[in-house]
Amino acid sequence: MLTVNVTPESPPAESLASPAIAARGLTKRFGAVTAVDDLTFEVRPGRVTGFLGPNGAGKSTTMRMVLGLVHPTAGSATVLGLPYASLDRPASVVGAVLEVQSFHPLRTGRNHLRVLAAASGLPDTRVDEVLEIVDLVGAAGRKAGGYSLGMRQRLALAGALLGDPRVLVLDEPANGLDPQGIRWLREFLRWFAARGNAVLVSSHLLSEMDQMADEVVVIDRGRLVRQGAIADLTAGRSSLKVSSADHAGLGRALIAAGLEPHPEGGASYTVTGAPADLVGEIALKAGVALTELTPHETTLEDAFLELTDGAER
């Protein structure tokens, strides 16, 4: 059973003053293809920031530019105010999971982490600690090539946590995790951010992101579409589905009340910008009997599809 049991006695880290990650005009061209186009955004401390975009939108390339793995064609990115390559002890600043397969398959999970720990000057005892955090102690002596997808994700996450970083950058970390693992990840990231740390996480599981993230950065075709709190993204987009046997009468009453009902097929209208009790009152005054009055809360998925024109390339 995975539980968020990460040194609960340790005090919350002091909240970071400056943006944890700042991208300014980031641009990357691969030949004639512009993967990322003049992208500017910030990731704030104490928040889980979701990084959303259709396939091929440039999310992974952006993350790799932030981490110094891909050289930007233009623009820059900083982590805690410094380019990644200038960080003195990067493992204690940023932990990242970019690929599920990022280890030699014939090396054991523990040895993989010992290799990483040595590079950052960390003691082997830290390896045992992170193995415990991700609940991989029992499999640590096995060759990592034999791990399931979920175990590989947890091994990668263990590597990211080795240096006890203040920023996490995770590319699709929920891939391959079972529902229990996804729940653990969500709780872990929220716990991590609550300590004043920052998380930038991409995922195509929008319902999961809805529960996990405080705010989102939405990109499409390499360009920023929207950055903000999820609540702001979905606010004002909620609607009502209202139906009556007297379809025409209902439409007239709603229009007379200054609303804009959109016919939805059959005997229904979709109404936005009005609470359910107001619509009910309008129908009552007009003497129209309602057969349905259903609120429809706009989800992150609805907002995302609207912002990206439902693009899936």
Binding site: P90, S102, H104, G121
Partner: protein
């Protein structure tokens, strides 16, 4: 840098293919020693440094060290572990420096392991044939081993450089071995005066293998060192600019 070297050493020691290469080095050296020593017609007492054919017995060890150097980078590119390596050590010249230090040290171990097999097997074969092999001159033996170690060190650097340039593991290893065992010999047949400056020929000259020894050991070593410097510089330059996408 110490941390990076420790990390690279752990990678090397926890990778089974490295131990396979070491075993291959010892087996091939032993077989070469057996094949050559069995055809020697020697009697009396022979010092190790004066063992006929010692250089030829060691001639295949550089190929294993070359592969060792190539896989130091290409293994990481192939399996994706280059990403966590660069996240831990974003300054790429440090990664190159640590890899060079570790494959260099490993190449010395390979050279000494190969030499030990050659000495052991050839001593056994010659003693069966009635000759007595002794330690002989320590200074001459040390010089002989120094040549082998130096040549292997340079070949490991060439391998690392080639790996960083080519990146694709199979292409780098197959291409290098085809070059070493086929193309250089073809060029030797076509233009021998030019071929002696090629890395394989220069390396043999540095070892003192007479069939390739037109440059002489010292010049051969300098030419091989030049190749090592060029390969490392090209590889490091390519690695520094490469996007790990």
């Amino acid at each position: 840098m110490r941390n990076q070297i420790m990390s690279e050493a752990r990678k090397l020691l926890t990778t089974r293919s490295v131990w396979g290469l070491l075993a291959g080095t010892m087996v091939i050296s032993g077989l070469a020693a057996w094949a050559i020593a069995a055809n020697l017609d020697l009697t009396g007492t022979i010092g190790l440094a004066g063992l006929p054919g010692f250089q030829e017995m060691m001639a295949l060890v550089p190929a294993f060290v070359l592969v060792l150097g190539i896989r130091s980078y290409t293994d990481e590119a192939r399996h994706g572990s280059l990403v966590p390596t660069l996240l831990s050590t974003p300054v790429r010249r440090r990664v190159v420096g640590a890899k060079f230090a570790v494959v260099g040290l490993a190449s010395i171990a390979f050279a000494l392991a190969g030499a030990a097999m050659v000495v052991g097997v050839s001593s056994l074969v010659l003693s069966i044939d009635g000759a007595a092999v002794t330690l002989g001159s320590i200074g001459a033996l040390a010089w002989l081993l120094a040549k082998v170690v130096g040549v292997c060190l340079l070949w490991s650097a060439i391998g690392l450089g080639v790996g960083m340039v080519v990146s694709h593991q199979v292409a780098a290893i197959v291409g290098s071995l085809v070059w070493l065992f086929a193309l250089e010999n073809l060029l030797d047949a076509l233009a021998p005066s030019l071929a002696r400056y090629l890395p394989g020929h220069a390396g043999m000259s540095a070892l003192g293998v007479e069939a390739y020894g037109t440059l002489g050991p010292l010049s051969g070593a300098w030419v091989l060192a030049g190749w090592a410097a060029v390969c490392l510089a090209l590889g490091a330059g390519r690695f520094r600019r490469r996007d790990i996408a």
